[in-house]
Symmetry: C2
Subunit: 205 residues, 2 copies
DNA sequence: AAATTGATAGTTTTGTTAAAAAAGTCAGGT
DNA sequence: ACCTGACTTTTTTAACAAAACTATCAATTT
């Protein structure tokens, strides 16, 4: 029985992998279930045997990505020598995550508003995990005596994450609003975020 | 000749005022030129005598709002006792500005993406003025010796404004993305921004 | 029984067209 | 120079059919 489930799990993994590639290269709406099935030389109906619908398939891929991303963070947290290092690692890891999977998030850019709630559950889950880790890092620094005691670490981390999220490519001319930044701007944004970290950390010390 | 132009200017003002009321109550797309003309008991054609088109009319109102807003800021800047006070005034004034004219910006929410470039010119102009004022405040504090010298005040102010802009209503559950925040959330956002100011200012000291 | 598929049903997107509404123009009047 | 009614052009809306795609299921294979 466990062997059977192993087989099933392997096939599910294969489907997730193929779907990921399609979504990454063509985005959500320009990927059809037929194409995914074709890539795997299986019938479309079989996809529906493993996953309830297209949206759930996308979410499953996304959950996997999110889980990998969070694992990266969790593995390193708890081993930092100061807060700046922790913030830096968070921002760098996040940057890498976005750069590597940029096209996968086409879905976000297209729908922009009114995305399915499941998406927001995942986003919310990532955010909560990040908050927990970063708040923990602050707490840890406080206990080590490197930081003066803080009333509400979580509140601070929330502001920190929002602030990071708000960093856009500037220059007033090209200051068009766009929830999801263009790929060419990611590096400039990243650099600005590093500056924000410096100011922020110094303000907390 | 100047009397004639005075008359013209008065009429232009009346048109701007009537348009402002319409845009504020019904938003851009649900306001028609006929209605504005009706409010003023004039023919639609006359509106086109004073303004080239609807979009330019909207921009003219917006420029007026922007100018009033900036005047508010400029009048007070230069008279602050510390940086925190300056930042606070900027954020409070901005908050008030958004709350008072909330519905006027329907235009932004509806079109979201691909707004006419003229809009971005105005937004960019406001932003540049804000940057100038805030960077000046930083410079002034440096000269007073209250702040240690800073490499690039403008860069810092840009990060500050972006960070403020990024503050959204949190709670992970209701963490849906929305460029333009809902009216009910404005106060919560404002409070978070006050916290950001505290951290930021302390980090610069 | 679990895994798989071809055929098919149901839904969303896309394209077409016509009518309605609104933007924008202009010749002519004060 | 200021103003308008009548007119033209453009944009929005609604309705509808065709196409593309999602999703289902009875039947078949392993």
């Amino acid at each position: 029985m466990s062997a059977v489930n192993d087989q099933q799990d392997i096939k599910r993994e294969k489907i997730l992998e193929a779907s990921y590639q399609r979504f990454l290269h063509y985005g959500y709406s320009k990927t059809t279930m037929n194409e995914i099935a074709g890539d795997l030389s299986m019938s479309k109906a079989l996809l529906y045997y493993y996953f309830p619908d297209k949206s759930e398939l996308y979410m499953a891929v996304m959950r996997k990505l999110a889980s990998d991303y969070l694992k990266q963070l969790e593995d390193k947290f708890g081993h930092f020598t100061d807060l700046r290092e922790a913030f830096l690692f968070q921002v760098n890891t996040h940057h890498e995550f976005i750069v590597n999977n940029y096209n996968f998030f086409d879905f976000f850019r297209l729908n922009e508003q009114n995305l399915p709630d499941t998406i927001w559950e995942i986003v919310g889950h990532i955010r909560e995990a990040e908050i927990k880790l970063l708040a923990g890092a602050i707490q840890s620094e406080v206990e080590k005596g490197n930081l003066k005691p803080v009333a509400n670490p979580i509140e601070i981390v929330e502001v920190f994450l929002d602030a990071l999220h708000g960093i856009k490519v500037g220059g007033s001319l090209s200051y068009k609003k766009l929830n999801f930044p263009h790929k060419e701007h990611l590096n400039e944004i990243h650099n600005k975020r590093l500056l924000l970290i410096d100011i922020f950390v110094k303000g907390l010390k």
